[in-house]
Amino acid sequence: MTPVTQLPTPPSISSRDPGLIDPAVRQIRDLIYKVSGIYNAEEKLYLLVDGCGKRMKQLGVRTIREYWDHLTAHPSRDGELRLLLNEITIGETCLFRAQSQLDALRKMILKEFIADKSRQAVKKIRVWSAGCSTGEEPYTLAMSLLEESEGLLKGWQFEITATDLNDRSVETAKLGTYGDYALRNTTDYFKRKYFTPAEDGKLQVRPEIKKYITFNRLNLTDDSKMLFMKGMDLICCCNVLIYFDGASKARVINHFYSDLNYGGYFFLGTSESLLGMTDKFHLVHFPGTIAYWKPMLQGGKP
């Protein structure tokens, strides 16, 4: 005889019932990844559902299936996909957005740069925030590097180039004034150290931080200008390439590659990938983030 233990019905295990999400949402997730390289994890699918909801309301579309057709079969599908990408990335901009990347920079990458460049006459690290929007990223980088100025970076200089296609964004970035939402990840320590109070309860970046950053308007598809961005150690380009078609994306990535020094790093958004568009970069992992690394020339030193 087989012993059979009778058991009570097990309790519900997951509050995150996969059955509640329309399969079309995952289809849209896959489409977005294929086109842009942005991946919406299960945990963040609700953001995608919200984004689709907003677009569906605008279009007067009632079901997610119907919206799928808009994204794939409609004549304006490319435009619609851009609008959807806008919706799902718009809320992301804030200071100290990608803590895992900043940790990797401060705990590991800077040490590599220092070792690689220690024999150079000018001890300088150059960083480019490509697609800096309203300045959150370059200021975050400046503050993070300044935190190391008495430690790892003692005796070193750094400069940050921040560019964006949009003139108005660049002007706003120069002002460096931010409200609660943009500062939601900024600790009191950083607020006190690097900001002064501005009107309407906002905070403004102190002028002495701004001198580390040069803001410029730049179109990443402008080949002649891209050729001049040489000698970078780190390039950050978050949620920008997602809007480019395959050919322009490949061109921009190639520029980034040649603009970087050997041993330099390229960061995308934390859930963004290059979709294997280049095998020149090494895809490397740091805790909580991936990065693209331009390997040293064979034989060690650049």
Binding site: T2, P3, V4, T5, Q6, L7, P8, T9, P10, P11, I13, S14, R16, P18, Y33, G37, Y39, A41, E42, E43, D103, A104, K107, M108, S271, S273, L274, L275, G276, H282, L283, V284, H285, F286, P287, G288, I290, W293
Partner: protein, 300 residues
């Protein structure tokens, strides 16, 4: 290359078997895992699962979770065994069994963190293997689950030295294995090997336990060892590590293990590692759920 273990390690580890902390069904279960599937008596499996009431209840709960894909809650153990199939039930049984295997008081490592990493690695190994033609996902799951079993041995028979190694690893943000080597002169790979051999685990699992940090040196079953090595690294890079920041960079595509695996599985060349990494973040939530199930000791 054969690794010679210090007799001292083997002797000390040999005492583990007699501790009351090991569930009675663990060793019969490990024997069962070595039996070819066609020779396994299903009734025997059902008896094994039913033997320990707490483990039986847990097995049913784990089996009913979306992670193991049993849509309808089963009403009996034999129902679970039949609907899940032998391989799956073995995985689940081993998961529950290992979760109860060691006493909480002796840990120098947070047991929840330890199981999160082991189960995380198990699930990621399974997902990774599903992308490789001809790989055995359930085997990979077990290999992932057991790869760090040496830490358990360390907790039990080298508790003072190991506690120091854990402290050094956390303070210096270095891998635990490096800290072990510095403090103790040997690592969980060696104590793990001793325990795996003593419990007569399958040879491929022994290789995983002994060589998941030096794939090049394993004596056989390189592909399985390489899978565990890579998935272990991925877990530690994506929030399923040992609960502290490890200052390290991993270049998986240029890791010797990747090259070893690529020789056996050509399809690895087309794999989108970035996407696999993002998908792994979903596992973090799944693993947390699984750990809380395995750790709840209620009899349901």
């Amino acid at each position: 290359m054969t690794v010679t273990l210090a007799p001292d390690i083997r002797e000390r580890v040999s005492r583990i078997e007699t501790t009351p902390a090991i569930p009675a069904i663990l060793l019969p279960l490990l024997r069962l895992l070595k039996t070819p599937a066609e020779q396994v008596d299903l009734d025997e499996v059902v008896r094994l699962v039913s033997y320990d009431k707490a483990i039986a209840a847990q097995c049913v709960r784990v089996a009913s979770s979306p992670l193991f894909g049993l849509a309808k809650p089963p009403s009996s153990i034999s129902g679970v065994v039949v609907s899940l199939g032998l391989k799956r039930i073995e995985s689940i049984l081993l998961t529950c069994c290992m979760g109860q295997a060691f006493p909480v008081s002796k840990w120098d490592l947070d047991p929840v963190v330890f199981w999160k990493h082991s189960l995380g690695c198990a699930m990621v190994c399974r997902k990774f293997s599903e992308k490789l033609a001809g790989a055995d996902p359930e085997k990979a799951y077990m290999a992932g689950l057991l790869h760090d079993i040496g830490f358990l041995a360390n907790c039990m028979v080298y508790s003072k030295e190991f506690a120091e190694a854990v402290r050094v690893a956390m303070d210096e943000q270095i891998p635990l294995g490096e800290a072990e080597l510095a403090v103790m002169g040997f690592t969980h790979c060696e104590t793990g090997r001793a325990i795996a051999e003593q419990w007569k685990m399958e040879e491929d699992i022994i290789q995983v336990v002994a060589h998941h940090h030096d794939v090049e040196n394993c004596e056989s079953d390189h592909a399985l060892v390489a899978i565990v090595h890579l998935c272990d690294l991925l877990c530690r890079m994506r929030g399923l590590g040992y609960g502290y920041y490890e200052r390290r960079k991993a270049d998986l595509l240029h890791d010797p293990a990747w090259a070893i695996l690529e020789k056996v599985h050509e399809e690895l060349q087309g794999m989108d590692l970035a996407r696999f990494t993002f998908e792994m973040d979903d596992s973090v939530i799944e693993v947390s759920e699984l750990v809380s199930m395995v750790f709840s000791r209620s009899n349901a």
